[in-house]
């Protein structure tokens, strides 16, 4: 059986999407409110600035050490998990990952999968793939469930349904859950969702989850959550398939401790999440629950491209807390959908080009004022603004130019005209005589300055030189003393 891949390029519509988003007052209001709420909650978790900075540095060092040893750690993780009875699979592309997962479900003739939250499975559009192959995949995280019922995609990596109002969710549940009354009471809505999903856990053939940290030392998959749906998906069905990116491996169990300490505080401003679920084995003889089969799918999907470049490798330090988007003035104004990528906001702008190529994502690194808030709050100190500048450079680079680690889509935003202007400017600026002649001419012929000045005049009024150059004015001032 094969399906034709549908090629869509949602990130290419970023400019149009963001234009629509900033003109939607309801969306603006709900994101503004939610982001203010999350920023205040995070700030309250870190009353001691020194502790925060020390913990960020520790988190950064842990992640960098793990990335420096990434190939060895992946092999160690595989060996340890295999010894524990967990089967490890490798996928370079989303298509490969989907085929592996479907193969595992099909082998036991599974028809229903319940899913815990997994952004990596959003990358692979796993639900869509499974539906096309006759397997129903039900999202069980409340936010993801709401978004799935609405036929939408998450607009935030931690709070997927942040763009939805109570009234919209009330209508969705009333229309989609059998016998559900219309109610805008949040407790009642959650109970409706709880009961509907409990029915699914009972029937499901397989549970699918993401992974927050995969520990090489012990062969342990760690899942962070509040709701308990992740535990349901990894405890009740007879098969558990976890999917994660290759960068999620950590070397030691003790590495997890500072990362788990800073993750929920940065993400939702909680001291800790309700559950920290550590899975090391399938059900053992004598044990009465838990899946008899556990699988881990390790996905590359462009991560090895980021890994190849020393600077861009830092992208992979990310622990997916979402603090960068919560603090981003662009994200809080346009929301998550405008980006057209699985990962929105600052982290999305620096990771998506590796997953999708710069041809589809060239506008994303430019959607930043480089205010630096994302880098300041990042719990593992990813220098996101530097990454944005680097990706802008790679997008504008001559596609023919040979570099040690070319990015997919290098030169997507390359303009020969603009390149010629800069080349000319370089010549003028590095030769004093030429520069003096240029500035004399530019000031004297200022009335002839072109009104259209490439990118500059797209959003700004044209530049007009002064009557005299600064050099001339200074000379006059000095001689008049």
């Amino acid at each position: 059986m094969s399906t034709h891949p549908i090629t869509v390029h949602p990130a290419r519509s970023f400019k149009a999407n963001s234009h629509d988003a900033v003109n939607d007052p309801h969306l603006r209001k709900s994101f503004r409110g939610a982001m203010d709420f999350l920023m205040a909650k995070r700030a309250a978790q870190f009353p001691d600035h020194n502790e925060l900075e020390a913990l960020r540095s520790l988190g950064e060092t842990v992640r960098q050490r793990c990335l420096a040893k990434l190939p060895q750690l992946l092999e160690k993780l595989e060996a340890q998990l295999t010894a524990n009875g967990v089967k490890v699979h490798w996928a370079e592309t989303p298509e490969e990952a989907n085929a592996i997962i479907h193969g595992l479900i099909a082998a036991r003739n599974g028809k229903l999968a319940v899913k815990g939250k997994s952004m990596v499975s959003e990358e692979t559009e796993l639900n869509h793939y499974l539906e096309a192959h006759g397997v129903q995949a039900v999202e069980s995280d409340m936010g993801e469930y709401i978004v799935q019922l609405a036929g939408e995609k998450p607009s935030h990596i931690i709070m997927p349904a942040i763009h939805k109002t109570k009234a919209q969710i009330a209508t969705l549940f009333h229309d989609n859950i059998p016998a559900a009354p219309y109610t805008e009471d949040v407790d009642e809505l959650i109970q409706l969702g709880r009961n509907a999903l409990r029915g699914m856990y009972l029937k499901a053939d397989v549970g699918i989850s993401g992974v927050n940290f995969a520990v090489a030392e012990t062969g342990t998959l760690c899942l962070v959550e509040n709701e308990g749906n992740g535990r349901m998906c990894t405890t009740v069905p007879d098969m558990h398939i976890a999917i994660t990116g290759i960068e999620k491996v950590v070397e030691k169990l003790s590495d997890v401790i500072p990362l788990y300490s800073i993750l929920p505080r940065s993400a939702t401003g909680q001291a800790i999440t309700t559950y920290f679920n550590m899975i090391s084995r399938p059900r053992q003889p004598g044990e009465k629950d838990g899946p008899r089969e556990v699988h881990l799918v390790l996905l590359d999907n462009g991560r090895s491209q980021a890994y190849a470049d020393e600077q861009l490798r830092k992208t992979l330090q990310c622990i997916r807390c979402g603090a960068c988007m919560n603090h981003c003035p662009v994200y809080s104004r346009i929301g998550g959908h405008a980006y057209g990528t699985v990962y929105p906001g600052p982290i999305g702008k620096i990771i998506s080009p590796h997953m999708l190529g710069l041809n589809d994502t060239q506008d994303l690194p430019t959607a930043s004022s480089l205010c630096g808030a994302c880098g300041e709050v990042c719990p593992v100190r990813i220098p996101i603004p530097e990454m944005l500048m680097r990706l802008r450079e790679e997008a504008a680079r001559d596609p023919e130019e040979k570099v040690p680690h070319p990015l997919a889509g290098q030169g997507a935003a390359y303009s020969p005209q603009l390149a010629r202007v800069w080349s000319l400017w370089r010549t003028v600026y590095s030769r004093p005589a030429l520069y003096r002649a240029f500035s004399w001419l530019a000031t004297r012929l200022r009335v002839f300055t072109p009104r259209r000045q490439l990118g500059w005049t797209v959003h700004r009024t044209p530049l007009t030189p002064a009557k005299q150059s600064l050099h001339e004015l200074v000379r006059q001032r000095q001689s008049s003393r």
Partner: protein, 234 residues
């Protein structure tokens, strides 16, 4: 060449030559671990637990079964799941059976596959022990086993957790390092910090999202700690 070999090949070709800086996790926690005496630790544990809607009941080693029975009578649970083969499970069963209207006791004596629907629909509360606690975050450490399987602390709407308060660590690091977890973990190990919850609808907090709506901690406090002072310390 397999996907595995291609991925590892790409990573190996790019792996940095210089040895990375070794993070000093132990040093960090040596500097940032509080050294409170047990009463202060316990008061903080309860403060954190109660802040997320956990009910903490202070009790003693000899009287906790009565505390459990009293709580059960108050709630009117009709079906309680426990592990009668364990010492604590047997004591709990005895106390519950002594009630005027005792609940029906169930035990997890067969694989989940054989009684999934009953477990989901016909258990009001489950009683389990815990391995230890963490004061900093208000957390229980639970290592499910054959007697008290994973679903006991997850599926029933109420989870009553028996907690020996003398086993209260300052933080997660202290628990992992003292107990040598790096040498081997069980099939499943858990940190539980409150009842199941979500804020996925308009950031409004709601309890009982998928797991227990209520978490009740029966904290066995050593006899030398005064219970009234402990309550007042919070």
């Amino acid at each position: 060449m397999s996907a595995r070999d291609r991925i590892l090949g790409k990573l190996r070709a790019a792996a940095p030559a210089q040895t990375p800086v070794e993070p000093d996790v132990a040093g960090y926690y040596a500097r940032h671990t509080l050294q409170h005496a047990l009463p202060a630790r316990l008061a903080h544990f309860s403060h954190m637990m109660r802040a997320v809607h956990t009910e903490v009941i202070y009790t003693r080693a000899d009287s906790w079964p009565q505390a459990l029975a009293a709580r059960a009578a108050q709630a009117g649970w009709r079906h309680v799941l426990l592990a009668p083969n364990t010492a604590h499970g047997a004591r709990a069963a005895q106390a519950l059976q002594g009630l005027a209207t005792p609940p029906q006791l169930k035990s997890y004596d067969r694989p989940i596959d054989d009684w999934k629907a009953e477990l989901f629909h016909d258990v009001d509360a489950a009683f389990t022990t815990t391995r230890a606690g963490i004061a900093e975050t208000g957390t229980l450490i639970v290592w499910p086993d054959a007697d008290e399987p994973r679903a006991m602390s997850l599926v029933p709407p109420v989870h009553i957790a028996l907690f020996d308060a003398s086993r209260l660590y300052e933080n997660f690091y202290q628990a992992v390092s003292t107990e040598g977890w790096a040498n081997g973990l069980p099939t499943n190990s858990l940190l539980i910090s409150g009842p199941s919850k979500t804020a996925d609808i308009q950031q409004t907090l709601a309890y009982g999202a998928h797991g227990p709506r209520e978490l009740i901690v029966l904290a066995i406090v050593p006899d030398d700690i005064d219970l009234a002072e402990l309550e007042a310390a919070q």
